[in-house]
């Protein structure tokens, strides 16, 4: 069994080792055949035993959308709520119960359109939530309209001559909101996905994990260049804390800092070794991670970083809330209802 994850220090430990099977429910999984959600579900179920906490102290909360059916398939406590509101509901849950491991499952429409406000506020507050954002760049459950992450010009049912919207980059949004943990992974790369989950579980506070997920019905192959063995090594920048950002099938590409402070991709042959950026996920200045999030080309996906962009320490929302309650109790003792109701100015009627 793994050692205690930092974010789970107040969650009761499991009495015995668990297996992925312990986290499966008897419910028939109702995603379309070939949906990327199956791979994510399997990866999450496979990872859960690593947490080493009691199953009954884990809660999955979701909003609305294909991804939001996720809680029904996890044999933990779960709430399938309403569109966009999962971070708000999970905030109330996590702020009330530090003995719970709370996970939010959401999608690009749920988290970034209707629920955008709750997402950024959960991130700035640093509530102890792990948010899995399944990004397939399309609305699935409503049958194929463009989403806030769809490319400009995207032809869909609601944009027959192309969407005129400019897309969000989810990680840029999160880093702009000063999220303390931001990562990206891919549905089909189980090992990488689980490594990111592990890092998120270690993080005290809100972790936003964007998972590139394939919708084979309405937006098939949206992330193809990152998945195809022929191309993926050339387009993907794998982020490893403390290591030089060198990538490409020939390891001939790298990330360098430009004169204006932003990051850019260069040929290794053209730069001095000392110019190659060493990845620092703990850099407290969000502009570094932000700049990383800007490297990828929104249409070709060239130079897409995956892994942990940012992982910095900041007190969690609920630790602050708890500390205030403990201080109040320490200073004045537990509340005395009779004294409260009496107040200061009373009079007697005899």
């Amino acid at each position: 069994m793994a050692e205690t994850f930092a974010s789970l220090s107040l969650v009761p430990k499991a009495d015995a080792p668990q297996s992925a099977k312990d986290f499966k429910t008897d419910q028939e999984v109702r995603w379309c055949p070939g949906c990327g959600d199956y791979a994510i579900l399997a990866a999450v179920q496979g990872f859960m035993p690593e947490l080493g906490v009691k199953r009954e102290n884990i809660v999955f909360v979701s909003g609305i959308g294909c991804s939001s059916r996720f809680p029904y398939y996890m044999n933990t406590y779960g709430v399938h709520s309403i569109h966009g509101r999962a971070p708000a509901i999970a905030t109330g849950l996590a702020a009330s119960r530090p003995d719970l491991s709370v996970w939010v499952v959401t999608g690009d429409g749920d988290a970034l359109s209707i629920g955008g406000n709750h997402l950024i506020h959960a991130l700035r507050r640093n509530v102890n939530l792990k948010i899995l954002l399944f990004n397939n760049r399309i609305y699935g459950l409503t049958k194929g309209q463009f989403s806030p992450t769809s490319e400009t010009g995207k032809i869909t049912k609601s944009s027959p001559v192309g969407s005129v919207d400019h897309p969000f980059n989810p990680l840029s949004v999160a880093i702009g909101a000063e999220a303390t943990f931001v990562a990206r992974t891919i549905d089909s790369d189980r090992q990488h996905l689980q490594s990111v989950l592990r890092a998120a579980a270690e993080h005290e506070g809100t972790a936003l994990i964007e998972i590139y997920q394939n919708c084979d019905i309405f937006n098939d192959n949206a992330w193809e260049p990152l998945k195809n063995p022929d191309t993926r090594d050339d387009v993907t920048i794998r982020l490893v804390h403390g290591e030089k950002l060198i990538f490409g099938s020939q390891l001939d590409r790298c990330v360098v800092r430009k004169a204006d402070g932003t990051l850019a991709v260069a040929n290794v042959a053209d730069v001095a070794e000392s110019e190659i950026v060493v990845h620092d996920a703990h850099n407290v200045d969000p502009s570094y991670a932000f700049s990383l999030s800007r490297l990828s080309h929104p249409e070709t996906l060239q130079d897409t970083p995956i892994g942990v962009f940012r992982d910095v320490k900041r007190p969690t929302f609920e630790s602050g809330l708890r500390a205030q309650i403990e201080t109040a109790e320490a200073v004045a003792g537990a509340g005395d209802l009779n004294a409260l109701l009496q107040g200061k100015d009373t009079w007697e009627v005899r």
Binding site: V79, S81, I89, L93, A95, I325, G335, Q342
Partner: protein
């Protein structure tokens, strides 16, 4: 110099000035002092939504009315007996609230030509005879305050700010009230600012001394204490009573209180109050919006807290979808709507009762939600506990429909002891509740209590009760997703039956009909209790027998309500809306009830109610 002392049974005084003049504070202080003396009382703060509209303008006028007496005081008084007008705008906006022949105390220092023109006075009302019908006391309030404070190291402008204390001192003298409570209050408020503290005390004392020496006042008044049930009393505002009721419900249920809220007038004071009481384990969460506020409260309820959200009508509109989710999840949740004038932004600081149908029906699908309405400021305490009882017992969201009048109004409160309050048992699920055919013991999240039809409340952290719930229709018993037509029909009817069944646990509607001979019933709900009761008592004094009943539970109705209204020849339903309870009564009981409706942002005046009731009662 000794002056004549006259005893009054009751008196209504009104303070009016600029928003920056401190009229609310002055009124509150006079009220606290009066409460301590044992008078019964009712207050009506009447202020604009703007924090400080331009000085001296009509939109910037803020007023506070207090009615106190030696017997049961039910309303702020239709008209004030005494009006304190700090400037021409205050006079212009409030003169209609002063009874003819009433005492008018005017700050003459502010009646310059510019100030008069600003509010459209072509001539000075102090000189043109337009105030001849009143007992006018011209007082150079500002300059006397400045004069009294000349020994202090402060600018003239700073000194002028203490003029409300001068006015308060004067009124306290006029009604023979002590200065000590205000001095105590000032000590607490300005303890760290010795100069301001001393100046305010001096201004207060100067106002008192002025009353005693000036020839403008020939009379001092005494209002003896009211005879009230024995016990310990305090003065309390409705929002404060609501906050205390929630803390009490938390203690008596053992559920920590979680308030998820977003600031909105006139509900924010509940947040301000609860945020002070962390020692009671109260968690307050000021969310990013109304939706997140209720979402977090619902999340907290799922976690086993007493989840509460506070708002006003526009906020309810935003929360509607989550209220529907709470109906579907069948979790306890208290939604406090401190109603204000609508629609849309409407009249943020004024009262109205026009959210009843929103609370009843403002959701998609069949989504019944119980509704409880407090009838006075102090009653907010009991109503909050009752809302919690229903929410916890029946695993349902509950509306507490307060309004601006009860929320900001104040009255004496016979303080209960903790032991006298009801306990509420959350009855959390602790183990399996169902045996499958093969003998396996399982937990079914939607297997109901046969008596209440409430489902089990299984909070995270209990092994073996892991379950998933959501907004999608659930199969009866198992709680699994179900699109089965018959199951949906059953679940819709069952959720309705659960709410209807609450009527078994609420007290029958009480009818106040002392003679037993009334043929006309007046039926109201919420904050109209005081004015309706006052009107009915006055009518009885005139020999007109009328009955009064105030509905506290608006969903479900008390079981005997239909029987009650069918037993009178005439039923009048006064409401501060266009007839919402009236519509529900007519729809449910097929009785030809008669509405009396006003939406003026103010409570009913007793006389208007009397006229309306008399009209119905006398036409046969």
């Amino acid at each position: 110099m000794s002056k004549e002392v006259v005893e009054l049974d009751h008196v209504s005084i009104r303070f009016a000035g600029d928003s920056g003049d401190g009229m609310q504070l002055t009124g509150d202080q006079f009220t606290s002092t009066t409460a301590i003396l044992g008078n019964d009382l009712t207050t009506l703060p009447d202020f604009p939504a703007e924090i400080r509209a331009p000085a001296g303008t009509l939109p910037g006028v803020s007023a506070f009315q207090l009615h106190f007496g030696n017997a049961d005081i039910l309303t702020p008084g239709d008209f004030a007996d005494v009006l304190v007008a700090m400037n021409p705008a205050a006079l212009k906006a409030n003169l209609k609230e002063l009874r003819k022949g009433g005492d008018l105390l005017v700050n003459t220092d502010e009646f310059g030509a510019r100030a008069l023109t600003k509010v459209g006075y072509e001539t000075n009302p102090l000189e043109d005879g337009s105030l001849d019908g009143y007992n006018v006391h011209p007082i150079a309030l500002t300059s006397m305050t400045v004069e009294a404070l000349k020994e202090f190291d402060m600018s003239k402008k700073e000194a002028e700010r203490a003029k409300n204390m001068f006015a308060l001192g004067m009124l306290l003298w006029m009604f023979t009230r002590p200065l000590e409570p205000t001095i105590k209050f000032l000590d607490a408020k300005f303890g760290k600012k010795p100069v301001i503290l001393a100046a305010n005390k001096k201004a207060l004392q100067a106002g008192w001394s002025f009353g005693e020496t000036t020839e403008s006042f020939a009379t001092q008044f005494v209002v003896k204490p009211a005879s009230m049930p024995t016990g310990t009393y305090r003065n309390i505002h409705g929002n404060l009573a609501t906050a205390y009721g929630l803390i009490a419900a938390s203690k008596r249920s053992g559920l920590p209180l979680f308030l998820g809220t977003y600031p909105i007038t006139p509900a924010s004071d509940i947040l301000h109050e609860l945020s002070k009481h962390k020692g009671f384990g109260v968690r307050t969460f000021q969310a990013e919006d109304e939706i997140a506020a209720i979402g977090a409260a619902l999340g907290a309820s799922y976690a086993g807290m007493l989840g509460v959200t506070t708002t006003s009508g526009p906020g309810v509109a935003l929360k509607s979808e989550t209220i529907g989710l709470a109906v579907a999840l069948e979790l306890p949740l208290i939604i406090i709507d401190v109603q204000r004038g609508g629609p849309s932004t409407g009249l943020p600081t004024k009262t109205e009762q026009a959210d009843l149908l929103q609370a009843m029906f403002g959701r998609n699908g069949e989504a019944p939600v119980p509704i409880v309405a407090p009838q006075s400021p102090a009653d907010c305490f009991n109503a909050a506990i009752e809302a919690a009882r229903i929410a916890i017992t029946y695993r349902t969201p509950v509306f507490l429909l307060s309004d601006g009048y009860v929320a900001n109004g104040a009255e004496p409160w016979l303080i209960p002891t903790e032991d006298s309050l009801p306990t509420i048992d959350p009855k959390f699920a602790t183990g399996p509740n169902h045996t499958l055919e093969d003998g396996t013991e399982v937990f079914w999240p939607f297997k109901r209590d046969p008596e209440t039809l409430a489902r089990p409340w299984a909070i995270p952290g209990v092994a073996g009760l892991e379950h998933r719930i959501g907004g999608i229709e659930k199969q009866d018993g198992t709680g699994n997703i179900s699109y089965d037509p018959a199951n949906h029909d059953f679940m819709v009817r069952t959720r309705q039956a659960k709410v209807d069944g609450i009527a078994k646990t609420i007290e029958p509607l009480l009818v106040d009909d002392p003679s037993g001979a009334a043929k006309t019933l007046v039926i109201g709900w919420g904050s109209t209790y005081g004015p309706i009761q006052d009107a009915c008592r006055n009518l009885r004094d005139e020999g007109i027998q009328v009955a009064h009943a105030q509905v506290r539970h608006l969903n479900p109705f008390p079981a005997n309500l239909g029987e009650v209204i069918k037993s009178y020849d005439k039923v009048v339903v006064p409401e501060m809306n266009l007839g919402q309870l009236n519509m529900l009564l007519r729809a449910k009981y097929l009785v030809d009830t008669i509405g009396f409706n006003q939406v003026r942002g103010l409570p009913f005046k007793t006389q208007e109610l009397m006229d309306a009731i008399k009209e119905v009662a006398s036409h046969g």
